[in-house]
């Protein structure tokens, strides 16, 4: 494994499978009455969150605590963009405190890469701007494998705001590494220029893709995107790219529906779909803890030689 987890693209197939298998073992601990392991006792994990994200921060916090690490939460809204302390000064402060791992969420793409240049501890990217969110992709892969028993050859459609989605970028890279067949589906305005070079197929037609999916992953679409003329109205978006019950019925029987949250019910996903038996949305949250435990364990505890 690399010293940091900055991009899902940095993970080899063996690395990714090691994380998934480790998470599988660690998940069993969550079923025990006493959920704690002594593995990271005496190690310090800093949750450095420059962007609001209660669910991801809690997930990392629980993961670190179950491994007995000391956890420091450092949350600040805004960043050096809004004239606070600079990212570098924050990094030097954490370095002086001896952080063994820094879990960072930041609104600027590449902020974890910059931190990795200033901090000697391990950096875990917990979502950077519109770049990547590798632990989300790992927990998504873990969830698919648990539900469907395999990853190799799985047909996965990622639907929604591909342009602005860090979840989409990490998932495309990781799922390709793991042998899945990925397609991204969105209106052309929400597809990045250059998407043709990604290891996936590109479609503008959700209805054509759904009958050939084992997994459909719906992404959050912010209504504010309308102001940027990415689509004419929330209703039109929902009609063309939202997953409602009639559309869900066109999926193969075994197919599952995923969403990284938080959801816009009625926008990209209908309430009855989100709450259906196909939906893995709550499992994804639970699996997030196991996967983040595995990442911290492998980066910090596993092998320090």
């Amino acid at each position: 494994m690399n010293r940091h987890l900055l991009s899902a693209g940095d993970l080899s197939r063996d690395d990714a499978l090691l994380i998934v298998h480790t998470a599988e073992e660690l998940a069993r601990i969550s079923d025990r009455p006493i959920k704690k392991l002594p593995t990271l006792r005496g190690r310090t994990v800093v949750n450095l969150f420059f962007e609001d994200s209660t669910r991801t921060r809690l997930s990392f916090e629980v993961a670190a605590k179950r491994l007995s690490a000391d956890v420091i939460n450092f949350s600040t809204k805004g960043s050096s963009v809004s004239k606070g302390e600079s990212l570098k000064d924050t990094a030097l402060t954490l370095e002086a405190m001896g952080a063994d791992a820094v879990v960072v969420r930041h609104s600027a793409s590449g902020a974890p890469h910059r931190l990795a240049g200033w901090i000697s501890g391990a950096i875990v990217n917990a979502g950077d701007g519109t770049h990547e969110h590798p632990t989300q992709a790992l927990l998504d892969a873990f969830t698919m494998r648990r539900r469907l028993g395999r990853l190799e050859g799985l047909r996965v459609a990622i639907v929604g705001d591909i342009l602005h989605s860090r979840v989409a970028r990490s998932n495309v890279l990781l799922l390709d590494t793991l042998g899945a067949e990925v397609s991204v589906v969105a209106p052309p305005t929400l597809m990045p220029v250059g998407v043709g070079s990604w290891p996936c197929t590109v479609s503008f037609d959700l209805d054509a893709v759904l009958p050939k999916c084992d997994v459909v992953m719906m992404l959050r679409v912010q209504r504010e995107r309308m102001a940027g003329a990415y689509f004419p109205s929330a209703r039109e978006y929902s009609r063309r790219y939202g997953l409602d019950a009639p559309r869900m019925a066109t999926l193969p029987d075994t197919a599952i529906v995923m969403h990284p949250g938080p959801m816009n019910r009625g926008m990209e996903i209908a309430a009855e779909v989100a709450d259906s038996v196909r939906s893995t949305i709550v499992e994804q949250v639970a699996n997030g803890v196991a996967v983040r435990m595995a990442v911290l364990y492998l980066l910090l505890g596993g092998d320090s030689s």
Binding site: S80, S109, G194
Partner: protein, 424 residues
């Protein structure tokens, strides 16, 4: 010491000869008592002229001053620079341009020709007093809102027309603002991968096309700053073929570097217009070679360390370039067989001087010409060390990179500003 003779200098790469100065001019024969300089193996070029330099004074003296920026210029072989108008206060009045011009005179490392702002405060709303700047002691002929595009078509048309009265030129920073809101880097494969907001080539090309049509319509002179795309080159070629009076510059970094460098997220590679693709680099080199692009201009843009040691999106745009420009042009153009030394002299001295209407610069090294000369060692190789630069800022994208050729000496009006590679 008012007379020099350079023994064995190869003028613009020609055969070895003795190049002599006396009293600030090139002379046919060295006068008795002239200082002799062994120039065996060195290339002599007319002093380089930069159409696009940010000296940051007044306002950001922590990043650069006229003194430090012109020291960097002299080390890079320049004898004249055009100081861009985006200072604080903006160079939009006769007072500010005269101040910058005088600071240049006092520093004495190279001529400083202030560029005047096109609009008041670079605001894009109201024409600045272009005539007052033209008539000032600074004799401004190049006007630019560089950093901002003059995107209002009517204002651009009026500016183009107005400066004809004193043979001025509008140097456009071609960037359609709506298409580039929050833009961070070239829009393409790499921006899609990195999740950085893209700066599409079309945002540059659309403005260049519009302005060429406007310049053609009113018969004015137009200059395009830092051309960066294949499409821009095509439009310029078309406009020149139609007889439109347009000139263009390209920066050294756009001749050598590509957007793949952004994958490091190191903002030292963040610049506006952004680094483009390898195909763009090739087209720019070819266009500079065939004259579609007239000149190399550095867009030397010094920034304080804290403005670059940040997240990519928070960092300032720009790179320093004066001290590496000639070497980069040698790497991109001479070593690839696209330009000979006479071509380098043409694109880095003669043509930029003509565009800026600098009658005392960019003259062939013939008897009677002003003694502005740079001596270059074409065989030298050096590794770029930011700490060794004369510029007050260190934001060079070439740190640690080996570059060909080195400036050995620079003479301004027959007086050495750089000798044996060091400031005098």
């Amino acid at each position: 010491m008012s007379a020099w003779v350079f023994r064995g200098a190869r003028v613009c790469g020609g055969p070895p000869t003795d190049l002599a100065f006396a009293d600030g001019r090139v002379v046919a024969e060295a006068p008795v008592g002239a200082q002799v300089y062994d120039a065996d193996g060195l290339i002599a070029l007319p002093g380089l002229v930069d159409l696009h330099t940010h000296l940051r004074e007044p306002g950001r003296e922590d990043a650069e001053t006229v003194e430090t920026g012109t020291r960097a210029a002299a080390l890079g072989g320049f004898t004249a620079v055009h100081a861009m108008a985006n200072t604080d206060p903006v160079a939009d009045t006769a007072g500010v341009v005269e101040q910058v011009w005088r600071l240049g005179q006092v520093a004495g490392h190279c001529d400083v020709h202030p560029v005047g702002a096109v609009t008041v405060g670079l605001g894009g709303q109201q024409l600045a007093e272009l005539g007052a700047m033209a008539d000032s002691a600074a004799r401004v002929r190049v006007f630019s809102d560089d950093g901002h595009c003059v995107d209002d078509a009517v204002l651009m048309r009026r500016a183009l027309e107005y400066v004809r009265a004193f043979d001025g030129v509008i140097a456009q920073h071609a960037q359609e603002p709506r298409l580039t809101e929050d833009a961070q880097m070239n829009e393409g494969v790499i921006s899609a991968q990195l999740g950085l907001v893209g700066w599409p080539a079309a945002a540059e090309e659309a403005v260049i096309a519009r302005d060429c049509l406007l310049a053609g319509h009113v018969g004015s002179r137009l200059h395009i700053c830092h051309v960066s795309t294949v499409g821009s080159v095509d439009i310029l070629r078309w406009a020149k073929a139609r007889g439109i009076r347009v000139t263009a510059e390209v920066t050294p970094h756009h001749l050598l570097l590509t957007d793949e460098l952004a994958t490091s997220y190191d903002p030292v590679f963040k610049v506006n217009p952004p680094l483009r693709t390898a195909a763009d680099v090739t087209a720019l080199r070819d266009a500079l070679a065939d004259g579609t692009i007239d000149a190399v201009a550095t867009d030397h843009a010094p920034h304080a360390l804290e403005d670059k040691e940040t997240e990519w999106a928070a960092a300032a745009f720009g790179m320093v370039g004066l001290e590496t420009a000639l070497s980069v042009v040698v790497a991109a153009m001479v070593d690839t067989g696209r330009l000979d030394w006479a071509g380098v002299a043409d694109r880095m001295s003669l043509r930029p001087a003509r565009i800026g209407r600098l009658s005392g610069q960019g003259r062939p090294l013939e008897p009677g010409a002003p003694a502005h000369v740079v001596l270059v060692d074409p065989a030298a190789r050096r590794v770029v060390d930011p700490a060794a630069m004369a510029s007050r800022s260190r934001n060079t994208p070439y740190a640690g990179r080996q570059l060909p050729a080195a400036v050995v000496a620079t003479f301004l009006s027959g007086r050495p500003t750089v000798l044996d590679g060091k400031l005098t």
